[in-house]
Amino acid sequence: MSPHTDIISETVREPGPWRLLAGRMLGHKGVVIGGAILILVILAALFAPLLAQHGPFQQSLADRLQPPFWMRGGSADYILGTDHLGRDYFSRLLYGARVSLLIGFTTALISGTIGTFLGIIAGYFGGRTDSVVMFLVTIKLSIPTILVALAIVQLVGGSLQTVILVLGFLLWHQFAVVTRATTMQIRGMDFITAAETVGCSTPRILATEVLPNVLNQVIVVLTLTMASAILIEAALSFLGVGVQPPTPSWGIMIAEGKQHLFFKPWLVMIPGVALLLVVLAINLLGDGLRDVTAPEKR
């Protein structure tokens, strides 16, 4: 629309597409910052046993409710203080990171598989298949996620596995919508027609032609779903449903710290900030990836 004049660009040797993508990713602030924080958190979670001074389940009632080291009464023994049972907060924070990350990744993978599959077949086959999948998506959208997750996890019995499975089956819709749209776009393109003409079997086409082209969108949704999963799990464990104590989930830590909010606010603040940071990092990364892989859609 802007009345720009045509510019004849000079012929330059352009770097290959992967190089370009990597370049754009590293140049994008969101990707770099989000990615860096996420990597740090992952490393911290992985090396938790090495980094923590005490075990996360080790109780020491004599040392209970100590503040972090920068506050009066704190010590270098428990750098982030202790909780109401005298457990090292830093240690619980690190191990809590494991819980969040594990749930985030696994849930995203499960829902990603379900959603991508549904989205691709809907976009590729169109017609009846598409209508059915879209109807399923509508139903899924109408279901109140947290409520149903709460109900089923509580009824079945709270545990890490239950949470992962339930959330995996509740968070697939965005994958479906996004991959369906992309697949529909790709559907009409020549290389698909070529593959069909040559006689490639449909599953083969879906796997080798459609899937790779849909992948960059899927990765973006993966990150965003991971963030959702982490937040929902935290809410579930905050409400006492899902991962059970003494497992250190950040949500549980906040719930346990709630009654001490008045005098010992760090019990609530520290895990909350951790949650905020991790989710923020993932969102930044996801948004950044989205920008980098489809800049015209911004």
Binding site: M1, S2, F135, T138, I139, L141, S142, I143, P144, T145, I146, L147, V148, L150, A151, I152, Q154, L155, V156, A227, L231, A234, A235, F238, L239, G240, V241, G251, I254, K258, L261, F262, P265, V268, M269, P271, G272, L275, L276, V279, L280, N283, L284, D287, R298
Partner: protein, 305 residues
């Protein structure tokens, strides 16, 4: 338009039916309703007696049909935990949640749309980045923690607001902020994107060429066209808020549907759970249908086709 209306309503009903079936199935499969009522310490015979008495031994689809025929008449059964009719419970708790929901969505729109417009009018400036930062934080912050944070700052440190209870509007301020903040990012971003796209249109150039003032161009000419997708998103966000109300009502000790849902879940009170899930889904389905219909009304091109 009429044909559109009818089709949309039929779709809504089909979805509602499927959701109710799905929920019913899931709830009755996830746990044994007889044990839920009898309690874990009950003996095997007691459980059997209960099972027959409540009809839990019948095939699932029969139980569902039974439930459905009652539900359409407004009878959602009786809560084994509270001992009251489910519909009474719901009617009792609905006003609080309704009030919270309405306040929250209004808050989200009042905050989100202007932020989005400002971000679009001054793209890539500090204002834009600030607005986007608000969006980014709003999406990342866990709502239950945000609530506790607000309580700590506003109730404990500054004694400005009550931490809990339902003493009129004041008690709703913090819950409203928490619940609304979840929706602000989506609304703001969508408004911003929509506005940016619209502002590049030829007809906006015409509006400028006519000598229209900025306020007129941005609101009367641009926002009108940009707001269409925001309406649908607002409806969806409103429905999500219902889910979020569980957490918010728990944190702020409000006695609404959300806390009813939480309590019924903790007590394995299946009839109440079922009813609330259907209710929340129903809200979403109705809101989504409404927003589609409103969109069609605002955009005259849909209205005619």
């Amino acid at each position: 338009m009429l044909k559109f209306l009818i089709r949309r309503v039929l779709l809504a009903m089909a979805v509602a039916l499927c959701v109710s079936m799905l929920t019913f199935g899931l709830l009755h499969v996830a746990t044994d309703p007889a044990i839920a009522i009898a309690g874990e310490d009950a003996s095997a015979e007691e459980i059997e007696v209960l099972r027959v008495a409540y009809g839990f031994d019948r095939p699932l689809y029969v139980q569902y049909a039974d439930w459905l025929s009652n539900a359409v008449q407004g009878d959602f059964g009786k809560s084994p935990y509270f001992g009251l009719e489910v519909r009474t419970l719901i009617a009792e708790r609905l006003p609080v949640t309704a009030k919270l929901g309405i306040l929250s969505i209004v808050f989200a729109l009042v905050l989100g749309i202007p932020l989005g417009v400002i971000a679009a009018v001054y793209p890539n400036t500090l204002t834009d980045r600030l607005a986007l930062s608000v969006a980014v934080f709003g999406q990342a912050i866990p709502n239950f923690w945000f609530g506790l944070l607000l309580i700590y700052v506003l109730s404990i440190q500054f004694r400005l607001l009550p931490a809990s209870g339902t003493e009129g509007f004041v008690s709703f301020i913090m819950p409203m902020i928490v619940l609304g903040t979840n929706a602000v990012p989506a609304i703001m971003r969508l408004t911003r994107t929509g506005m940016l796209e619209v502002l590049g249109s030829d007809y906006i150039r015409t509006a400028w060429a006519k000598g229209m003032l900025p306020r007129q161009v941005y609101v009367k000419h641009a926002l009108r066209n940009a707001v269409v997708p925001v309406v649908s998103v607002a409806a969806i966000q409103a429905a999500h808020m219902l889910g979020g109300s569980i957490v918010v009502e728990a944190v702020f000790a409000l006695h609404g549907l959300g806390s009813l849902a939480y309590e019924s879940i903790l007590r394995s009170d299946i009839p109440t759970m079922q009813a609330i899930i259907i209710l929340f889904s129903g809200f979403f389905i109705v809101f989504a249908a409404l927003s589609d219909i409103i969109n069609a009304y605002i955009d005259p091109r849909i209205r005619i086709s």
